[in-house]
Point group: C3
Chain length 214, copies 3
């Protein structure tokens, strides 16, 4: 199977899991079925849309190919009908987010490289593609952003983007770089979820407290 076909399937899969995560957030807010479709779609294509606008690609990816929109609509409707089967929406949302995060950090980086972006910009685009869908979703829904938790969320996207760039730079080809980088990002995020790994939060030192020390 051609690499491009695999990439396309990954792309649709990533969009489907992000759409599910958006629809689950809509479920949390008890929206109606159109709210599911709206937030499923925004979350599914949001990150890639911001990426395409910034890269000024010849066309935003879902305008020329409506398959992406149908995947979002289908995944959102499936969530509407099936979400009640799952005991915990929260856990499901977490894992759907993790998979989408890993996929898009790599696919976003790849697209930016294809449009001749500098390496730093490509890494940033990968991180953005992976995180902006959920960031927009949470901001619009008034939820505390998943992104603000210090639990290796943005870091996993960074790892996916950086390892893709690093592997491609070794001339190992996309067919190696794609699965390895996705696996690396997913493993880091999964480890963070399972073992509660976290980066240290910022802790301000209180200068006044120091002066009270004898």
């Amino acid at each position: 199977m051609a690499v491009d076909t695999v990439v396309y399937i990954f792309d649709l899969l990533g969009i489907a899991v992000f759409a599910v995560s958006g629809a689950l957030a809509a479920a949390e807010k008890r929206l109606d079925v159109l709210g599911f479709v709206l937030f499923g779609t925004i979350t599914g294509i949001g990150g890639g849309t911001v990426r395409d606008l910034l890269l000024q690609t010849d066309q935003v990816f879902w305008i020329g190919n409506t398959t992406y929109l149908w995947v979002c609509i289908g995944a959102s409707l499936a969530t509407w009908f099936l979400a009640h089967l799952f005991e915990s929406l929260r856990a499901l949302l977490l894992w759907a987010d993790a998979l989408g995060l890993a996929l898009f950090s790599v696919l976003g980086t790849q697209k930016a490289l294809a449009w001749d972006a500098p390496l730093l910009v490509a890494v940033g685009m990968g991180m953005m593609t992976a995180t902006f869908g959920s960031l927009i979703r949470d901001s619009l829904l008034g939820r505390p952003p998943v992104l603000l938790e210090p639990d290796i969320y943005v870091s996993a996207a960074a790892l996916g983007a950086l390892s893709y760039v690093a592997i491609v730079a070794q001339d190992w080809g996309r067919e190696v770089a794609l699965p390895v980088a996705v696996a690396a990002a997913f493993a880091l995020r999964a480890g963070a979820i399972l073992f509660d790994l976290r980066l240290p939060k910022y802790r301000p030192r209180d200068p006044r407290r120091n002066t009270h020390v004898p």
Copy 2:
């Protein structure tokens, strides 16, 4: 009168009512006069701006023609001076929103079709043009988004966009499609406001509760 002239007048009218709804939201938050103009303008042109960026039209609509900005500024200032005349800002906001919603769902669809978007994309663009101004307004102001209420808000935009596409497909021409689709969307939204129509919210079933049933 040429269809384009009517469309242009409708466009300015829609932007004016959306700007008023943005300025009324600013009034709710007790902003100063520049806050009125800022949120009036963002709400007035926000949806159409997102649409034009996504469609990559040759120019964002209000950059080439500053009339749109002057309408936003004028409507915002009028709201600053006149809003206290109305007893209930909330009711006024609701109806201004409803009219803008109906107008833009159709005008946004029409513009997307003019830029050769696929039908599904055109319907999405119509819904987005109609709803993203208020979505951005509410998100920036930290208000509970009007859009998240299950009261036939997005649905009315969908009806406007879909009926425009359907009527145009019958070759009845824009001069029929435009008023009919706007009226359909407005009637649905007005009915929802007056008779408190709502789509069913998502209600999760609790699997654990079922196991307790004898």
Copy 3:
């Protein structure tokens, strides 16, 4: 030194102080180091990015020249390591914001004029460049937007943009217009901070209360 070099240095300086203000907001929310970089970068380049997308410049400014991103990353990391030295993050955030506001209101206007925007659009672009970074930052972080305070924030951006347009219209050249307009905007904002200047808030009159007056 050529005007363009001065403009470029101002541009980098403005982005650095905005990045610091974004990183300080991340500190307030106790984010991790990647959160600092993320919000430092979004706040640093957010306003200019929106401006470039709307103006449809040939390339978003930080894609062709990664210096801007490195400045954001550097300023964010510096904030991570040094912010605890300052007793009050709040005061620092306020002044960093004020300087960035003044710089970008003028630089944004200048870039819009360079892209042949009408005067009203150029003034709007200046105000947007100056305020949208912090608006996006606050919206994403769920903080009460700095922008919504009636304390001459947007007004200072408006003064910077308007005075730049006015001075340039006198044919005094950019090398005069730039520092004078920046100084004017900063002075107004600084005066507002120091002397607690405010524009009057909107105060609704209650019509029902009037009917009770004998």
